[in-house]
Assembly symmetry: D2
Homo-oligomer: 334 residues x 4
């Protein structure tokens, strides 16, 4: 039995408590929030869970083995460091930390104390991403050519971070998971319209060690919600529309065939346009699977797919994107 | 009566001949192509039109007042210069020229000799663009925040130009027409996968003199065809889906309301989510309207909306985009 | 304060308890179900609500003012009659009863004892139906020409009723609410493929007192879920797509203009094709509004829009449809 | 070489002339229309084709082997009879004739004189219908359960026929081609709103010799264009959306699995929800393939898939539907 404490009961906290509390072998013992009304909501929904406004009480509690940190990103480092210091495993909201060096320090502490760190890259546990991962690993798409994501809507303006820190962690964690090639450098552009200079529209290109390219379009000012990822491979191409009620993933037997005849300078290009296929996607709740994965890793000593290192890689790309953004598209190496 | 000669009867030529030949007050007298089979197609369809393989014969013909140039971009400058030299008006396929300095020279000659230059920015004459232009000019959208275009499909690889030169002229000419703000600098990224180092995927950001931003996503390797433009304004926002069989333009009464109270640092953001409205779009063929506009300008001494200057502005942005692309996103000022 | 008892805690019961229990001025005191595990779920979620397996205990309880009946349709009549007999108001799942004469008897009892009957035509309280109602009443659509509904998906086969009894009550209650014309007769066709002769595909036409016509397409064997209603008016036409994530209702300024010149036999038809408009739809939960309406009617002596009479009208059409279905489309007068 | 004469150069005639004139081994020699301006259009487009306003001149011409009849349905019988009488093969627009007995007479004459009759059921030659035919014949869908077609838009009102005669021939000819079961009886309902009592909205059910059912929804008063056919089979189900720019046909591995245990009255229903698959559809022009099929049948003595018998079967169903429509859904046996 793993006992868990949760810090932060705002937007995402209730989902965390519900899922971590309903697993066999896990129990939420304690929830901390500075907002009293949040704690009242906890008590009403879960009379058996203790609440506190004192974060130190939670972190030092003898009753818990792991701390879930669901607070603003700026606080992640300090809270996670304290929790690791008290010998607790940690599960941290994305993005992992506000600076890469903080993430590196936490990973080092975790390794030294043999404590597990997991970053809440929930999307990795969706049926869609698991299916795409499988398709890529089985070689269905062939060599990847590009990864192009659009994540736009009339967004919840954040007061402390720009649209890159708010929306791009989703895409970067997905990209990091799906693509085994090495990202090398980042170019980001964007603009701020409302929010004290915090960008609400941004475009991020990621260059890789070979001629694979990734691009993210994130926007808080779109009248329509779009969540579309195009992945081009040299064998097949894939469109993932996460808004679609059905057939979220479509795989197209489309592509380009290049023939280069000896002595002929001209390119002989032909196009392949075959069937489309939409695999059935598992509907299980991603956060439930993620919680199960966490406990499986804790109890059986496994390495989480969304461990501190994956959190660090995402933070490094966020840092680079923001640095490039400030310099209007300057190439920033990772 | 304006008499016209057409150079190039490949992909687009037949549309040009059909439209310029069916106008009252205009007649195609001569078509030139180096490909004999193309000329045979002309004769079969239009027994009354003369054909030639000799471009000089066409350009120097006494029977024509204007030359339409529908050949590869690399040849535009030389042909247009000759035609202007022979005292002919010119109508040139987009992009206008391969280099900005060529465009500038042609404009200068045209002005000196009082000959009209028109660049075939056909999209400006579509019902959709004319409607958007009207909405912007009437202030329906308010101040523009961003212009975000996606133009992707399994493209016809060009042997001589990359995806930027092939697809971006559409978006750049539309943007140039719709947005009165001054573009200042360009950042472009992209990748080549197949074509002797010619990019088949590219992303272009354009910075303006104020905090308006534009972005173009052009891709020859997409399994699905997407032609979508989002235009965000501080009053209303617009989505133009050029593939949609109906309701191509949707205007959303959505937006952000910012309230800044004195002495309060925090932002008070609220969201407006009202009705959507899809205006009826005129279905007239764009090229027909463009041809009519050309003759109207010729006969009544008007300035074409797609004159040499607009062609030059597009070429400058293409040049800057390609320069930036080669340097992986370096900011290139216009 | 109105105290409520709920009979039946299956598929829909939890939604009823949640909504009726969260209203100001209302409280669920008692829930009855024959399934013990259902009662356990009640206790876990609502420790303060009493449970029982004895329906008579609930109906005769002094602690409750109104009984909600969420059991199979076959049991509605008996339970509602008992509840009215004990002086309780009733709120009955749709369809109201299995036979029209049962509905008539219940209405009579209710009137005699001045008790309120409400039938759970939840759809009437959706933002979409309320908006359509408003548009029709304001004359936006003009005279209605037809009402055409498609409600198909891979359905939950019912063991006791056919697809008409399962799906058509939704459409019939909506139609009854929106259209003030008098339905006169019904024609229904359909087929059974799997279920002991219970139809899983059916088509229902309803004739009205004037040349307005309604049609329902209900199907449990469709691979795709479709929930679309077309309403044609002589001024405007409307499409309601209840699956669409946004813009569920679209109003088209499209129609036919007929000109009949004196002495001219031939019809002069012209077509109008103007703008489309998608009004913002209120997102409030329909069942919450319905519960509020119920209490408003109870406390202020108002007549529910979904009273016993509306329930009766729907049951009469269901009976007629089934009678016609058995006789392969015979016209059955209402 | 087959020489062809075409009667009627209205809406569809130009397509017929273009296709029949461009085939190897076929040539259009003569076109007849009573409208002089139509004949001028012929001469302009095809200087080599003779024109006439006299239908008898065309039919009796020694220069032609086959007559294409593209005139209003009311005239088909007389013209086809004359043409067969003159020893010409005939190709008749759908619907074949206005009465079944006329069709029967024409078929008899054709057989006696060994002349080929073909009815222009163009849809049978589309890539979509050919693919569906193949899927059904290969048993991919299993036993068919239903065929449900929607064909609605703001229609071109016909002055002489109702919406059933105008739109349903498409669906009936498709259904006749795809489904080998025997249609037994028809129920039709509908309403007329504008057009001298000619129905503009109609719903047609067709019963078959087993528990397969077909339904057609045809409507001239819809604000949106819908061309959707659902075909349910006990193995797989299919949706054909003829408006969709891509992936017109989608095959769903969805269905119902019924298990009936001995001694158990209750039905054990389970649902299967697997992958979706959209086969590539051949894009060739249907009318071109139909013309080729016609000449193949003429020259090689083959029986057309759209012969007079298929035309007759469609006319019989149209007659039955109209009879049922007039009697408000009365079951009319075929």
């Amino acid at each position: 039995m793993v006992n868990v404490g949760v810090i932060g009961y705002g937007y995402w906290g209730p989902n965390l408590v519900r899922n971590f509390n309903s697993l066999d072998g896990s129990r939420v013992k304690l929830v901390c929030d500075i907002d009293e009304s949040a704690l009242k909501r906890v008590k009403r929904a879960y009379p058996g869970i203790q609440v506190t406004q004192d974060v130190n009480e939670l972190i030092s509690s003898k009753n818990i083995d792991a701390v879930i940190i669901a607070t603003p990103v700026i606080t992640h480092y300090e809270l996670a460091k304290k929790a690791l210091g008290e010998g607790k495993h940690v599960f941290v909201e994305k993005p992992f930390t506000y600076k890469a060096e903080q993430a590196e320090e936490l990973i080092e502490i975790g390794e030294k104390k043999r404590l597990k760190i997991m970053v809440d890259h929930t999307f990795l546990f969706t049926g869609a991403v698991r299916k795409i991962k499988q398709l890529i690993e089985e070689g269905v798409l062939g060599n990847l050519l590009y990864f192009d994501s659009i994540r736009v809507n009339l967004g919840l303006f954040q007061h402390d971070v720009n649209v890159v820190w708010d929306l791009a962690p989703h895409d970067l964690s997905i990209m990091d998971y799906l693509i085994k090639d090495q990202p090398i450098a980042v170019v980001a552009t964007g603009e701020a319209h409302y929010n004290h200079g915090l960008e609400d529209v941004a475009y991020i290109t990621i260059y890789f060690s070979r001629n694979m390219i990734a691009h993210l379009n994130v926007n808080w000012l779109s009248p329509v919600k779009i969540r579309t990822v195009l992945i081009g491979g040299d064998k097949k191409m894939l469109v993932w529309d996460d808004i679609a009620p059905d057939d979220k993933i479509k795989i197209y037997d489309k592509g380009v065939e290049i023939e280069t005849k000896e002595g002929v300078y001209d390119l002989l290009v032909s196009y392949r346009s075959g069937d489309m296929w939409a695999p059935r996607i598992d509907q299980a709740e991603a956060l439930k699977l993620e919680a199960e994965h966490y406990f499986d890793c804790l109890e059986n000593g496994k390495k989480p797919i969304n461990d501190g290192m994956s959190g660090l890689r995402v933070v490094k790309m966020l840092e680079a994107a923001n640095k490039s953004l400030k310099k209007k598209g300057e190439l920033v190496y990772l």
